[in-house]
Symmetry: C2
Subunit: 352 residues, 2 copies
């Protein structure tokens, strides 16, 4: 698999996901604003990958800060961090990464600035490595839920390309495949951006995991015809009560899964869980340019002047979610207690 | 509105819907096989429009038959009719039109062949005119169900372009608009063929009816957010129990409507109702070329060698359908009796 993001001396290289799968090209980011633009324009996308990119972008941004003392450094760092946090609104991993890097800066007041910059660079490398490790844990935890011979439906791309590597939802698919299970994937094409057609099929084909792309419109019909055994998607933000924001269309898939008595799982790292938000109503939903719907490959498809509305995410209420699969284990309803306990355990482990 | 289909001396002109809305071009059909190909390749589509095209195609085909006597004429006509009936499998209007034209031939055994050919031509003109009239009746009947100020979600294109003119689902929209109601339409873009983005938005914009195109993936989310008041779609075949085949994705919309307590209506002429079929399980579902999903405008979007499955229709079980709106009135559950009575009334009217 091609790395999604990597350091190249003092620059950052991003696998440009707007060009996949037809062209495998890396975008060179030379300063933190290049990273912000890459996130905004979806050269890199997927909640965990955005988090990793933000951390790396902040490390790169900090390295260019010319400050006389720690306070001036921190002031400038915070400006950059605030800009970074605004790149996209829905995925909380972005804010999580910004806060982790900012907390690290705060803890460095007595360290020389050059060392702080090195520490931030190292931290971004740790975040990337941790993300891959977390995905493998999610994969191991979720693999038990994938029956031999099953067909897994997934929506959007929650794969290696959406993370530091390996993937969340597709991490579970990979783990089941590596465990020798004979499985296949139905990939919703995922309009308007076609992450399923362009990215999910691409990375599964590279790993020789059987995959069929379907129109988003066909997901329900295949469920009703008994052709889907389980659904796994990623998430961009999970509220304290288990409501989950994810790519537009996820809500529909979840409703259809329940209607057809098919388990609907969300796979996500703890960095996607936002206990500060009570429920899904409070998660900000990004609305993107209507041209994502009306144009394909830069070419107008609809009539001149046609209007479109293009929300990029939706909320799946917790009641439709069979379980949430994290690196710390599988959480089932009621989610309020279950999700909270993940963090309590983490805090306790850290104290030991 | 541009006519969908029309006679041009002995040829038939079809508004080529593959090119809409960017180019308004008529395809000239010079023999019945041109019509069959146009139906197969979706230059003309929509269940009622396919019925009209089949009738006109049979009239054109019959005019070229060189036969010495009625039996030879009828034999050849039946061959053509059998070919025509096979053009596409799901919409029953095709078979309905073929059967109506065949019955007419059967009733003409004592008439000179030239006159039979003229009769068939006239019958095809009547079918076209009737279809427009039927749609206007559907519009009038359904208009009462559209509240002032409401947002109507529709899937695919059940408009003027899918019929002889005026439309079924969009006929109701037009009737509500003509009645002075302030309404707006959310048009599902309707992958893979994008009938909503290309056709529904086009014809509503021509009539100055407010329309927004949305990704199919967003329909459920808008329903959950209270932004949709009712759903109206067409149908390709309705079984005796009310189960309805329609464009892939209709089933999902119906499930989501019920989940969100929004009425889901089907608008269709009697020629779409197939009492010979007990329920939806027996309706043949066309599967079309995977390239409809993997390619857009002839250009590959997915990875080389990607597999896709492309069913063109799905079945919406009757339990999700609030009412079926026909030219003879509105039928509500239980459908078995209600649908049957439409035809009984028709037979009785005809006997008077």
């Amino acid at each position: 698999m091609h790395p999604v993001i990597k350091w190249d001396n003092n620059h950052i290289l991003l696998l440009d996901q707007r060009r996949l799968p037809l062209s495998i090209r890396y975008l060179t980011c030379r300063n933190y604003r290049d990273i912000i633009n890459a996130i905004k324009r979806m050269a890199i996308r997927g909640a965990p990958a955005i988090g990793v990119a933000a951390a790396m972008g902040l490390a790169m941004g900090s390295s260019a800060i010319r400050a006389r003392n720690f306070d001036a450094f921190r002031r400038r760092f915070r400006e950059i961090a605030d800009e970074m946090a605004e790149a996209r609104p829905t995925a909380v991993n972005l804010r999580w990464a910004v806060e982790r890097m900012s907390a690290l800066v705060d803890s460095c007041s007595v360290i020389p600035l050059d060392e702080i910059k090195q520490t931030l660079r190292r931290e971004s490398e740790i975040i990337l490595a941790e993300d891959i490790d977390i995905n493998k844990r999610i994969g191991r935890n979720g693999e038990a839920l994938v029956p031999e011979g099953s067909t897994i439906l997934t929506h959007c791309n929650a794969g290696a390309l959406a993370t530091g590597g390996y993937g969340t939802a597709l991490g579970i698919v990979r783990a089941a495949h590596e465990a020798g299970k004979s499985i296949r994937v139905f990939a919703d094409e995922t309009r308007p951006w076609l992450q399923g057609l362009r990215l999910t099929s691409f990375e599964l084909m590279e790993d020789h995991i059987p995959v069929h792309v379907i129109a988003d419109n066909a997901a329900g019909s295949f469920m009703r015809r008994g052709m889907v055994d389980l659904v796994i998607t990623g998430a961009d933000r999970i509220a304290a009560n288990g409501d989950a924001a994810n790519k537009i269309g996820t809500y529909q898939v979840a409703v259809l899964a329940r209607e057809n008595s098919i388990p609907f799982y969300i796979a996500a790292p703890l960095s996607t869980i936002d206990l500060s938000i009570k429920n899904g109503e409070n998660i900000p939903i990004e609305e993107r340019d209507p041209s994502e719907i009306t144009h394909i490959n830069g070419r107008m498809i609809g009539p001149r002047g046609v209007k479109a509305i293009n929300p990029s995410f939706d909320i799946t209420p917790a009641k439709y979610i069979t379980a949430i699969i994290t690196e710390k284990g599988i959480v089932r309803p009621p989610y309020l207690a279950g999700l909270k306990s993940l963090f309590t355990t983490e805090a306790q482990s850290a104290q030991r």
